[in-house]
Point group: C2
Chain length 254, copies 2
DNA sequence: CGTACACCCTCACGTAACGTCAGGGTCAAG
DNA sequence: CTTGACCCTGACGTTACGTGAGGGTGTACG
Protein backbone atom coordinates (compact mmCIF):
# COMPACT_ATOMS: atom_id res chain seq x y z
CA UNK A 1 0.00 0.00 0.00
CA UNK A 2 1.89 2.98 -1.26
CA UNK A 3 -0.75 5.69 -1.50
CA UNK A 4 1.07 8.16 0.74
CA UNK A 5 4.26 8.03 -1.32
CA UNK A 6 5.38 10.99 -3.32
CA UNK A 7 6.47 10.18 -6.84
CA UNK A 8 9.06 11.85 -9.00
CA UNK A 9 8.22 12.50 -12.60
CA UNK A 10 10.19 9.51 -13.90
CA UNK A 11 8.56 7.07 -11.52
CA UNK A 12 5.10 8.29 -12.36
CA UNK A 13 5.85 8.23 -16.08
CA UNK A 14 7.06 4.62 -15.95
CA UNK A 15 4.08 3.59 -13.85
CA UNK A 16 1.65 5.13 -16.31
CA UNK A 17 3.42 4.14 -19.51
CA UNK A 18 3.88 7.75 -20.61
CA UNK A 19 7.00 9.88 -21.06
CA UNK A 20 8.49 12.45 -18.74
CA UNK A 21 7.95 14.96 -21.51
CA UNK A 22 4.24 14.17 -21.44
CA UNK A 23 4.07 14.88 -17.74
CA UNK A 24 6.02 18.11 -18.22
CA UNK A 25 3.53 19.10 -20.86
CA UNK A 26 0.56 18.25 -18.66
CA UNK A 27 2.08 20.37 -15.90
CA UNK A 28 2.67 23.25 -18.31
CA UNK A 29 -0.94 23.30 -19.43
CA UNK A 30 -2.26 22.85 -15.92
CA UNK A 31 -3.82 19.48 -16.60
CA UNK A 32 -1.92 17.38 -14.08
CA UNK A 33 0.04 19.64 -11.78
CA UNK A 34 2.49 18.24 -9.24
CA UNK A 35 1.52 19.35 -5.75
CA UNK A 36 5.09 19.66 -4.60
CA UNK A 37 8.69 20.36 -5.51
CA UNK A 38 11.86 19.28 -3.76
CA UNK A 39 14.44 21.88 -2.77
CA UNK A 40 16.25 20.89 -5.98
CA UNK A 41 13.17 21.75 -8.00
CA UNK A 42 12.10 18.17 -8.67
CA UNK A 43 8.40 17.68 -9.25
CA UNK A 44 6.69 15.44 -6.71
CA UNK A 45 3.27 13.95 -7.29
CA UNK A 46 0.83 12.80 -4.61
CA UNK A 47 -2.28 10.69 -4.55
CA UNK A 48 -4.58 13.36 -5.95
CA UNK A 49 -2.37 13.82 -9.00
CA UNK A 50 -2.21 10.05 -9.61
CA UNK A 51 -6.00 9.96 -9.60
CA UNK A 52 -6.16 12.97 -11.90
CA UNK A 53 -3.67 11.38 -14.28
CA UNK A 54 -5.74 8.22 -14.39
CA UNK A 55 -8.84 10.19 -15.31
CA UNK A 56 -6.93 12.12 -17.95
CA UNK A 57 -5.43 8.99 -19.50
CA UNK A 58 -8.84 7.36 -19.78
CA UNK A 59 -10.18 10.39 -21.59
CA UNK A 60 -7.11 10.51 -23.79
CA UNK A 61 -7.50 6.85 -24.63
CA UNK A 62 -10.98 7.70 -25.85
CA UNK A 63 -9.69 10.32 -28.23
CA UNK A 64 -10.48 13.52 -26.35
CA UNK A 65 -8.23 16.50 -27.00
CA UNK A 66 -6.29 17.64 -23.96
CA UNK A 67 -8.10 20.96 -24.02
CA UNK A 68 -11.42 19.16 -23.90
CA UNK A 69 -10.22 17.01 -21.04
CA UNK A 70 -9.14 20.04 -19.11
CA UNK A 71 -12.51 21.64 -19.51
CA UNK A 72 -14.29 18.49 -18.39
CA UNK A 73 -12.26 18.02 -15.22
CA UNK A 74 -12.51 21.71 -14.36
CA UNK A 75 -16.27 21.86 -14.60
CA UNK A 76 -18.04 23.09 -11.45
CA UNK A 77 -19.27 20.05 -9.61
CA UNK A 78 -16.98 17.72 -11.51
CA UNK A 79 -16.51 14.51 -9.64
CA UNK A 80 -14.20 11.61 -10.14
CA UNK A 81 -16.98 9.09 -9.80
CA UNK A 82 -19.11 10.76 -12.44
CA UNK A 83 -16.14 10.88 -14.78
CA UNK A 84 -15.25 7.25 -14.28
CA UNK A 85 -18.81 6.19 -14.93
CA UNK A 86 -18.93 8.29 -18.03
CA UNK A 87 -15.70 6.78 -19.21
CA UNK A 88 -17.08 3.34 -18.68
CA UNK A 89 -19.91 4.12 -21.05
CA UNK A 90 -17.60 5.60 -23.63
CA UNK A 91 -15.17 2.68 -23.47
CA UNK A 92 -18.08 0.33 -24.06
CA UNK A 93 -19.18 2.37 -27.05
CA UNK A 94 -15.67 2.30 -28.39
CA UNK A 95 -15.51 -1.46 -27.98
CA UNK A 96 -18.72 -1.80 -29.95
CA UNK A 97 -17.21 0.35 -32.63
CA UNK A 98 -14.15 -1.87 -32.78
CA UNK A 99 -16.33 -4.92 -33.19
CA UNK A 100 -17.91 -3.15 -36.13
CA UNK A 101 -14.47 -2.66 -37.65
CA UNK A 102 -13.63 -6.31 -37.11
CA UNK A 103 -16.81 -7.27 -38.88
CA UNK A 104 -15.86 -4.99 -41.74
CA UNK A 105 -12.44 -6.58 -42.06
CA UNK A 106 -14.01 -10.02 -42.08
CA UNK A 107 -16.33 -9.01 -44.86
CA UNK A 108 -13.43 -7.58 -46.83
CA UNK A 109 -11.35 -10.73 -46.40
CA UNK A 110 -14.30 -12.88 -47.45
CA UNK A 111 -14.80 -10.74 -50.54
CA UNK A 112 -11.12 -11.07 -51.46
CA UNK A 113 -11.27 -14.82 -50.93
CA UNK A 114 -14.44 -15.46 -52.85
CA UNK A 115 -13.75 -12.96 -55.59
CA UNK A 116 -16.90 -11.07 -54.82
CA UNK A 117 -17.03 -7.32 -54.88
CA UNK A 118 -17.96 -4.90 -52.13
CA UNK A 119 -19.27 -1.50 -53.05
CA UNK A 120 -17.15 1.52 -52.30
CA UNK A 121 -19.61 2.53 -49.59
CA UNK A 122 -19.54 -0.87 -47.96
CA UNK A 123 -15.79 -0.68 -47.74
CA UNK A 124 -15.60 2.77 -46.22
CA UNK A 125 -18.74 3.38 -44.23
CA UNK A 126 -17.37 2.05 -40.93
CA UNK A 127 -14.72 4.70 -40.62
CA UNK A 128 -15.21 7.99 -38.88
CA UNK A 129 -18.11 6.72 -36.82
CA UNK A 130 -16.63 7.13 -33.36
CA UNK A 131 -16.40 10.74 -32.34
CA UNK A 132 -15.95 11.37 -28.63
CA UNK A 133 -17.19 14.94 -28.97
CA UNK A 134 -20.54 13.53 -30.02
CA UNK A 135 -20.90 11.58 -26.82
CA UNK A 136 -19.75 14.51 -24.76
CA UNK A 137 -22.40 16.63 -26.44
CA UNK A 138 -24.88 14.16 -25.05
CA UNK A 139 -23.40 14.49 -21.61
CA UNK A 140 -23.58 18.24 -21.75
CA UNK A 141 -27.30 18.15 -22.33
CA UNK A 142 -27.82 15.58 -19.66
CA UNK A 143 -25.73 17.21 -16.99
CA UNK A 144 -26.14 20.83 -17.50
CA UNK A 145 -27.43 23.68 -19.50
CA UNK A 146 -26.07 23.59 -23.01
CA UNK A 147 -25.55 27.35 -23.18
CA UNK A 148 -23.73 27.36 -19.89
CA UNK A 149 -21.43 24.68 -21.16
CA UNK A 150 -20.69 26.56 -24.35
CA UNK A 151 -19.98 29.74 -22.43
CA UNK A 152 -17.78 27.85 -20.08
CA UNK A 153 -15.84 26.27 -22.93
CA UNK A 154 -15.35 29.63 -24.62
CA UNK A 155 -14.43 31.43 -21.44
CA UNK A 156 -11.97 28.83 -20.20
CA UNK A 157 -10.36 28.12 -23.54
CA UNK A 158 -7.45 30.45 -23.00
CA UNK A 159 -6.97 30.17 -19.24
CA UNK A 160 -3.39 29.69 -18.24
CA UNK A 161 -2.06 27.42 -15.60
CA UNK A 162 -2.03 30.39 -13.24
CA UNK A 163 -5.68 31.05 -13.97
CA UNK A 164 -6.57 27.50 -13.05
CA UNK A 165 -4.57 27.77 -9.88
CA UNK A 166 -6.38 30.99 -8.98
CA UNK A 167 -9.73 29.35 -9.67
CA UNK A 168 -8.90 26.42 -7.46
CA UNK A 169 -7.68 28.66 -4.67
CA UNK A 170 -10.82 30.80 -4.77
CA UNK A 171 -13.02 27.73 -4.75
CA UNK A 172 -11.10 26.28 -1.81
CA UNK A 173 -11.49 29.57 0.04
CA UNK A 174 -15.25 29.56 -0.48
CA UNK A 175 -15.45 25.98 0.73
CA UNK A 176 -13.37 26.89 3.77
CA UNK A 177 -15.62 29.81 4.60
CA UNK A 178 -18.69 27.60 4.44
CA UNK A 179 -16.96 25.05 6.67
CA UNK A 180 -16.09 27.75 9.17
CA UNK A 181 -19.73 28.84 9.31
CA UNK A 182 -20.81 25.29 9.83
CA UNK A 183 -18.30 24.81 12.61
CA UNK A 184 -19.53 28.01 14.25
CA UNK A 185 -23.13 26.78 14.13
CA UNK A 186 -24.25 29.53 11.76
CA UNK A 187 -27.56 28.79 10.00
CA UNK A 188 -27.27 28.14 6.25
CA UNK A 189 -30.03 30.65 5.63
CA UNK A 190 -28.40 33.33 7.71
CA UNK A 191 -27.06 36.45 6.11
CA UNK A 192 -23.47 35.43 6.39
CA UNK A 193 -23.97 32.06 4.76
CA UNK A 194 -26.03 33.59 2.02
CA UNK A 195 -23.30 36.10 1.38
CA UNK A 196 -20.82 33.31 0.86
CA UNK A 197 -23.29 31.57 -1.43
CA UNK A 198 -23.49 34.80 -3.40
CA UNK A 199 -19.74 34.81 -3.66
CA UNK A 200 -19.86 31.26 -4.91
CA UNK A 201 -22.32 32.31 -7.58
CA UNK A 202 -20.09 35.24 -8.53
CA UNK A 203 -17.11 32.90 -8.72
CA UNK A 204 -18.87 30.67 -11.23
CA UNK A 205 -20.06 33.68 -13.23
CA UNK A 206 -16.59 35.14 -13.28
CA UNK A 207 -14.74 32.05 -14.33
CA UNK A 208 -17.22 29.78 -16.10
CA UNK A 209 -20.62 31.05 -17.22
CA UNK A 210 -23.32 33.54 -16.36
CA UNK A 211 -24.89 31.95 -13.34
CA UNK A 212 -28.26 33.42 -12.49
CA UNK A 213 -29.83 32.76 -9.12
CA UNK A 214 -32.16 30.29 -10.80
CA UNK A 215 -29.32 28.34 -12.32
CA UNK A 216 -27.40 28.56 -9.08
CA UNK A 217 -30.37 27.14 -7.20
CA UNK A 218 -30.56 24.27 -9.65
CA UNK A 219 -26.87 23.62 -9.15
CA UNK A 220 -27.33 23.64 -5.39
CA UNK A 221 -30.11 21.08 -5.68
CA UNK A 222 -27.93 18.87 -7.80
CA UNK A 223 -25.29 19.01 -5.08
CA UNK A 224 -27.51 16.99 -2.77
CA UNK A 225 -29.75 15.18 -5.23
CA UNK A 226 -26.89 13.31 -6.84
CA UNK A 227 -24.81 11.28 -4.44
CA UNK A 228 -21.76 11.64 -6.63
CA UNK A 229 -21.75 15.43 -6.41
CA UNK A 230 -22.43 15.17 -2.72
CA UNK A 231 -19.52 12.81 -2.16
CA UNK A 232 -17.20 14.99 -4.14
CA UNK A 233 -17.99 18.17 -2.23
CA UNK A 234 -18.05 16.43 1.13
CA UNK A 235 -14.45 15.48 0.54
CA UNK A 236 -13.68 19.00 1.68
CA UNK A 237 -15.76 18.52 4.80
CA UNK A 238 -18.56 16.30 6.00
CA UNK A 239 -21.95 17.87 5.39
CA UNK A 240 -20.66 20.65 3.17
CA UNK A 241 -22.87 19.72 0.22
CA UNK A 242 -26.04 19.93 2.32
CA UNK A 243 -25.01 23.18 3.91
CA UNK A 244 -24.06 24.77 0.61
CA UNK A 245 -27.24 23.58 -1.02
CA UNK A 246 -29.32 25.16 1.75
CA UNK A 247 -27.34 28.42 1.67
CA UNK A 248 -27.65 28.59 -2.13
CA UNK A 249 -31.40 27.99 -1.97
CA UNK A 250 -31.80 30.66 0.70
CA UNK A 251 -29.69 33.09 -1.30
CA UNK A 252 -31.77 32.44 -4.39
CA UNK A 253 -34.88 33.25 -2.47
CA UNK A 254 -33.86 36.61 -1.06
CA UNK B 1 -22.92 -1.65 -57.69
CA UNK B 2 -20.75 1.35 -58.22
CA UNK B 3 -17.24 -0.08 -58.37
CA UNK B 4 -16.41 1.37 -61.78
CA UNK B 5 -17.29 4.90 -60.73
CA UNK B 6 -14.65 7.54 -60.39
CA UNK B 7 -14.90 9.61 -57.24
CA UNK B 8 -13.88 13.19 -56.66
CA UNK B 9 -12.04 14.06 -53.50
CA UNK B 10 -15.11 15.37 -51.69
CA UNK B 11 -17.21 12.32 -52.45
CA UNK B 12 -14.50 9.97 -51.28
CA UNK B 13 -13.87 12.03 -48.16
CA UNK B 14 -17.54 11.98 -47.17
CA UNK B 15 -17.78 8.27 -47.86
CA UNK B 16 -14.79 7.53 -45.66
CA UNK B 17 -15.54 10.04 -42.92
CA UNK B 18 -12.29 11.90 -43.46
CA UNK B 19 -11.58 15.43 -44.69
CA UNK B 20 -10.57 16.61 -48.14
CA UNK B 21 -7.41 17.93 -46.53
CA UNK B 22 -6.61 14.43 -45.32
CA UNK B 23 -6.89 13.06 -48.84
CA UNK B 24 -4.76 15.90 -50.17
CA UNK B 25 -2.17 15.05 -47.56
CA UNK B 26 -2.27 11.35 -48.43
CA UNK B 27 -1.78 12.25 -52.09
CA UNK B 28 1.14 14.52 -51.23
CA UNK B 29 2.96 11.80 -49.32
CA UNK B 30 2.19 9.18 -51.92
CA UNK B 31 0.06 7.09 -49.62
CA UNK B 32 -3.24 7.17 -51.52
CA UNK B 33 -2.66 8.66 -54.92
CA UNK B 34 -5.57 9.41 -57.27
CA UNK B 35 -5.11 7.56 -60.53
CA UNK B 36 -6.62 10.32 -62.59
CA UNK B 37 -7.28 14.04 -62.96
CA UNK B 38 -9.97 15.82 -64.92
CA UNK B 39 -9.03 18.45 -67.45
CA UNK B 40 -9.79 20.99 -64.70
CA UNK B 41 -7.25 19.34 -62.46
CA UNK B 42 -9.76 17.59 -60.19
CA UNK B 43 -8.49 14.42 -58.55
CA UNK B 44 -10.42 11.30 -59.47
CA UNK B 45 -10.16 8.08 -57.50
CA UNK B 46 -10.87 4.60 -58.78
CA UNK B 47 -11.44 1.21 -57.23
CA UNK B 48 -7.80 0.53 -56.42
CA UNK B 49 -7.50 3.77 -54.48
CA UNK B 50 -10.67 3.03 -52.53
CA UNK B 51 -9.20 -0.30 -51.50
CA UNK B 52 -5.90 1.33 -50.61
CA UNK B 53 -7.70 3.95 -48.54
CA UNK B 54 -9.57 1.25 -46.66
CA UNK B 55 -6.33 -0.52 -45.83
CA UNK B 56 -4.74 2.72 -44.75
CA UNK B 57 -7.66 3.71 -42.53
CA UNK B 58 -7.63 0.34 -40.77
CA UNK B 59 -3.95 0.76 -39.99
CA UNK B 60 -4.53 4.33 -38.89
CA UNK B 61 -7.33 3.23 -36.62
CA UNK B 62 -4.84 0.88 -34.99
CA UNK B 63 -2.47 3.71 -34.22
CA UNK B 64 0.16 3.26 -36.93
CA UNK B 65 1.99 6.35 -38.12
CA UNK B 66 1.40 7.20 -41.76
CA UNK B 67 5.06 6.65 -42.52
CA UNK B 68 4.83 3.17 -41.08
CA UNK B 69 1.70 2.48 -43.07
CA UNK B 70 3.37 3.60 -46.23
CA UNK B 71 6.28 1.27 -45.64
CA UNK B 72 3.97 -1.64 -44.95
CA UNK B 73 1.88 -1.24 -48.09
CA UNK B 74 4.99 -0.66 -50.23
CA UNK B 75 6.75 -3.79 -49.08
CA UNK B 76 7.73 -6.17 -51.89
CA UNK B 77 5.14 -8.88 -52.00
CA UNK B 78 2.62 -6.85 -50.03
CA UNK B 79 -0.88 -8.10 -50.58
CA UNK B 80 -4.24 -6.75 -49.59
CA UNK B 81 -5.37 -10.06 -48.18
CA UNK B 82 -2.34 -10.40 -45.96
CA UNK B 83 -2.86 -6.89 -44.69
CA UNK B 84 -6.53 -7.39 -43.95
CA UNK B 85 -5.80 -10.57 -42.04
CA UNK B 86 -3.11 -8.83 -40.08
CA UNK B 87 -5.45 -6.02 -39.28
CA UNK B 88 -8.02 -8.47 -38.06
CA UNK B 89 -5.54 -9.79 -35.53
CA UNK B 90 -4.56 -6.34 -34.41
CA UNK B 91 -8.14 -5.15 -34.05
CA UNK B 92 -8.84 -8.18 -31.87
CA UNK B 93 -5.83 -7.38 -29.72
CA UNK B 94 -7.00 -3.82 -29.41
CA UNK B 95 -10.45 -4.96 -28.37
CA UNK B 96 -8.91 -7.11 -25.67
CA UNK B 97 -6.96 -4.12 -24.49
CA UNK B 98 -10.13 -2.05 -24.30
CA UNK B 99 -11.79 -4.71 -22.20
CA UNK B 100 -8.84 -4.43 -19.86
CA UNK B 101 -9.43 -0.71 -19.58
CA UNK B 102 -13.12 -1.26 -18.89
CA UNK B 103 -12.20 -3.65 -16.13
CA UNK B 104 -9.86 -1.03 -14.71
CA UNK B 105 -12.57 1.61 -14.71
CA UNK B 106 -14.94 -0.78 -12.97
CA UNK B 107 -12.38 -1.41 -10.28
CA UNK B 108 -11.81 2.31 -9.86
CA UNK B 109 -15.55 3.01 -9.56
CA UNK B 110 -15.95 0.22 -7.04
CA UNK B 111 -13.07 1.60 -5.01
CA UNK B 112 -14.65 5.08 -5.04
CA UNK B 113 -18.00 3.62 -4.03
CA UNK B 114 -16.77 1.42 -1.24
CA UNK B 115 -14.17 3.84 0.06
CA UNK B 116 -11.39 1.36 -0.52
CA UNK B 117 -8.06 2.39 -1.87
CA UNK B 118 -6.27 1.21 -4.97
CA UNK B 119 -2.52 1.44 -5.10
CA UNK B 120 -0.93 3.87 -7.51
CA UNK B 121 0.25 0.97 -9.64
CA UNK B 122 -3.17 -0.60 -9.78
CA UNK B 123 -4.59 2.64 -11.06
CA UNK B 124 -2.04 3.24 -13.77
CA UNK B 125 -0.73 -0.10 -14.93
CA UNK B 126 -3.30 -0.59 -17.69
CA UNK B 127 -2.14 2.38 -19.71
CA UNK B 128 0.49 2.27 -22.38
CA UNK B 129 0.07 -1.42 -23.02
CA UNK B 130 -1.06 -1.35 -26.62
CA UNK B 131 1.72 -0.46 -28.98
CA UNK B 132 1.13 -1.27 -32.65
CA UNK B 133 4.84 -1.15 -33.38
CA UNK B 134 5.26 -4.13 -31.08
CA UNK B 135 2.90 -6.22 -33.11
CA UNK B 136 4.45 -5.10 -36.33
CA UNK B 137 7.83 -6.14 -34.97
CA UNK B 138 6.34 -9.60 -34.70
CA UNK B 139 5.16 -9.47 -38.27
CA UNK B 140 8.56 -8.42 -39.48
CA UNK B 141 10.15 -11.47 -37.99
CA UNK B 142 7.45 -13.73 -39.29
CA UNK B 143 7.34 -12.41 -42.81
CA UNK B 144 10.81 -11.50 -43.63
CA UNK B 145 14.36 -11.00 -42.54
CA UNK B 146 14.59 -8.51 -39.74
CA UNK B 147 17.69 -6.86 -41.13
CA UNK B 148 16.08 -6.54 -44.52
CA UNK B 149 13.09 -4.85 -42.95
CA UNK B 150 15.25 -2.41 -41.05
CA UNK B 151 17.24 -1.57 -44.14
CA UNK B 152 14.08 -1.13 -46.07
CA UNK B 153 12.62 1.19 -43.43
CA UNK B 154 15.76 3.29 -43.36
CA UNK B 155 16.16 3.40 -47.10
CA UNK B 156 12.54 4.27 -47.84
CA UNK B 157 12.10 6.77 -45.04
CA UNK B 158 12.81 9.78 -47.18
CA UNK B 159 11.40 8.68 -50.51
CA UNK B 160 9.21 11.25 -52.15
CA UNK B 161 6.01 10.69 -53.97
CA UNK B 162 8.00 10.72 -57.19
CA UNK B 163 10.28 8.03 -55.86
CA UNK B 164 7.31 5.83 -55.10
CA UNK B 165 5.92 6.41 -58.55
CA UNK B 166 9.27 5.48 -60.09
CA UNK B 167 9.39 2.35 -57.97
CA UNK B 168 5.93 1.32 -59.05
CA UNK B 169 6.69 2.00 -62.68
CA UNK B 170 9.88 -0.06 -62.59
CA UNK B 171 8.09 -2.89 -60.88
CA UNK B 172 5.30 -2.80 -63.43
CA UNK B 173 7.87 -2.86 -66.22
CA UNK B 174 9.55 -5.91 -64.76
CA UNK B 175 6.20 -7.64 -64.44
CA UNK B 176 5.36 -6.74 -68.01
CA UNK B 177 8.67 -8.12 -69.27
CA UNK B 178 8.03 -11.39 -67.48
CA UNK B 179 4.54 -11.52 -68.93
CA UNK B 180 5.90 -10.93 -72.41
CA UNK B 181 8.33 -13.79 -72.00
CA UNK B 182 5.53 -16.01 -70.82
CA UNK B 183 3.39 -15.05 -73.77
CA UNK B 184 6.30 -15.76 -76.10
CA UNK B 185 6.73 -19.20 -74.58
CA UNK B 186 10.20 -18.45 -73.23
CA UNK B 187 11.35 -20.87 -70.52
CA UNK B 188 11.62 -19.39 -67.02
CA UNK B 189 15.12 -20.80 -66.70
CA UNK B 190 16.24 -19.38 -70.01
CA UNK B 191 18.82 -16.62 -70.11
CA UNK B 192 16.36 -13.92 -70.90
CA UNK B 193 14.03 -14.77 -68.04
CA UNK B 194 16.93 -15.05 -65.66
CA UNK B 195 18.16 -11.64 -66.78
CA UNK B 196 14.82 -10.15 -65.91
CA UNK B 197 14.90 -11.95 -62.56
CA UNK B 198 18.31 -10.39 -61.99
CA UNK B 199 16.82 -7.02 -62.75
CA UNK B 200 14.07 -7.72 -60.26
CA UNK B 201 16.67 -8.50 -57.66
CA UNK B 202 18.56 -5.32 -58.51
CA UNK B 203 15.33 -3.38 -58.24
CA UNK B 204 14.74 -4.60 -54.68
CA UNK B 205 18.37 -3.97 -53.75
CA UNK B 206 18.19 -0.49 -55.18
CA UNK B 207 14.98 0.59 -53.55
CA UNK B 208 14.50 -1.60 -50.49
CA UNK B 209 17.31 -3.70 -49.08
CA UNK B 210 20.41 -5.65 -50.08
CA UNK B 211 18.88 -8.66 -51.74
CA UNK B 212 21.35 -11.46 -52.17
CA UNK B 213 20.56 -14.35 -54.50
CA UNK B 214 19.80 -16.47 -51.47
CA UNK B 215 17.31 -14.00 -50.12
CA UNK B 216 15.89 -13.51 -53.56
CA UNK B 217 15.40 -17.25 -53.92
CA UNK B 218 13.59 -17.31 -50.59
CA UNK B 219 11.35 -14.51 -51.76
CA UNK B 220 10.64 -16.36 -54.99
CA UNK B 221 9.63 -19.43 -53.04
CA UNK B 222 7.32 -17.40 -50.92
CA UNK B 223 5.64 -16.10 -54.06
CA UNK B 224 4.22 -19.53 -54.76
CA UNK B 225 4.19 -21.07 -51.31
CA UNK B 226 1.78 -18.54 -49.91
CA UNK B 227 -1.47 -18.28 -51.81
CA UNK B 228 -1.87 -14.66 -50.82
CA UNK B 229 1.40 -13.60 -52.44
CA UNK B 230 0.51 -15.70 -55.46
CA UNK B 231 -2.89 -14.09 -55.81
CA UNK B 232 -1.45 -10.64 -55.46
CA UNK B 233 1.17 -11.10 -58.16
CA UNK B 234 -1.17 -12.98 -60.47
CA UNK B 235 -3.34 -9.90 -60.52
CA UNK B 236 -0.88 -8.60 -63.08
CA UNK B 237 -1.22 -11.75 -65.13
CA UNK B 238 -2.30 -15.32 -64.61
CA UNK B 239 0.65 -17.57 -63.79
CA UNK B 240 3.08 -14.74 -63.19
CA UNK B 241 3.94 -15.82 -59.64
CA UNK B 242 4.90 -19.30 -60.76
CA UNK B 243 6.93 -18.02 -63.67
CA UNK B 244 8.75 -15.45 -61.58
CA UNK B 245 9.44 -17.95 -58.87
CA UNK B 246 11.00 -20.34 -61.36
CA UNK B 247 13.04 -17.61 -63.04
CA UNK B 248 14.28 -16.37 -59.67
CA UNK B 249 15.25 -19.86 -58.60
CA UNK B 250 17.11 -20.43 -61.86
CA UNK B 251 18.85 -17.11 -61.57
CA UNK B 252 19.91 -17.91 -58.02
CA UNK B 253 21.46 -21.14 -59.26
CA UNK B 254 23.62 -19.75 -62.04
C1' DC C 1 36.71 13.09 -1.56
C1' DG C 2 36.07 12.02 -6.42
C1' DT C 3 33.74 9.37 -9.89
C1' DA C 4 30.02 7.25 -12.27
C1' DC C 5 25.47 6.77 -13.21
C1' DA C 6 20.69 7.55 -13.09
C1' DC C 7 17.69 11.06 -12.39
C1' DC C 8 16.10 15.74 -12.45
C1' DC C 9 15.59 20.79 -14.25
C1' DT C 10 14.53 24.52 -18.05
C1' DC C 11 14.77 25.91 -22.65
C1' DA C 12 13.78 25.53 -27.31
C1' DC C 13 13.63 23.79 -31.91
C1' DG C 14 11.50 20.12 -34.64
C1' DT C 15 7.92 16.73 -36.09
C1' DA C 16 3.54 14.37 -37.61
C1' DA C 17 -0.90 14.93 -39.22
C1' DC C 18 -3.56 17.49 -40.42
C1' DG C 19 -6.89 22.36 -39.70
C1' DT C 20 -7.75 26.62 -41.58
C1' DC C 21 -7.79 30.20 -44.78
C1' DA C 22 -6.71 32.81 -49.02
C1' DG C 23 -7.36 33.45 -53.81
C1' DG C 24 -9.03 31.69 -57.72
C1' DG C 25 -11.01 28.20 -61.27
C1' DT C 26 -15.03 24.68 -62.61
C1' DC C 27 -19.55 22.77 -63.07
C1' DA C 28 -24.41 22.53 -63.18
C1' DA C 29 -28.87 24.42 -62.48
C1' DG C 30 -32.01 28.27 -62.66
C1' DC D 1 -25.49 35.44 -66.58
C1' DT D 2 -25.70 34.31 -61.58
C1' DT D 3 -25.38 31.38 -57.79
C1' DG D 4 -23.77 27.87 -54.99
C1' DA D 5 -21.30 23.75 -54.38
C1' DC D 6 -17.20 21.84 -55.62
C1' DC D 7 -12.43 21.81 -56.93
C1' DC D 8 -7.37 23.53 -57.15
C1' DT D 9 -2.62 25.11 -54.97
C1' DG D 10 -0.17 27.42 -51.52
C1' DA D 11 0.95 28.36 -46.94
C1' DC D 12 0.62 29.43 -42.13
C1' DG D 13 -1.07 27.54 -37.72
C1' DT D 14 -2.28 23.96 -34.19
C1' DT D 15 -1.85 19.98 -31.10
C1' DA D 16 0.81 16.94 -28.49
C1' DC D 17 4.48 15.87 -27.76
C1' DG D 18 9.92 14.12 -29.45
C1' DT D 19 14.51 15.34 -29.13
C1' DG D 20 18.61 17.41 -27.64
C1' DA D 21 21.47 20.95 -25.23
C1' DG D 22 23.46 22.40 -21.02
C1' DG D 23 23.59 21.92 -16.42
C1' DG D 24 22.27 20.48 -11.41
C1' DT D 25 21.18 16.46 -7.79
C1' DG D 26 21.43 12.17 -5.23
C1' DT D 27 23.44 7.82 -4.24
C1' DA D 28 26.64 4.16 -4.28
C1' DC D 29 31.29 2.86 -4.58
C1' DG D 30 36.37 3.10 -4.81
Amino acid sequence: MKTTERLTVGSLARMAGVTVRTLHHYDEIGLVVPSGRTSAGYRTYGRAEVERLQEVLFFRELGFALDEIRQIVSRPGYSRTIALERQRELLEARTEHLLTLIDAVDRAVRAERTGTTMTNEEMLEVFGDFDPAEYEEEARERWGDSDAYKQSATRTARYTKQDWETIKAENDTIYARFLDLMAAGEAPDGDTAMDVAEEHRAHITKWYYDCSKVIHAGLGQMYVADVRFKENIDKAGEGLAEYMSAAIAANAGR
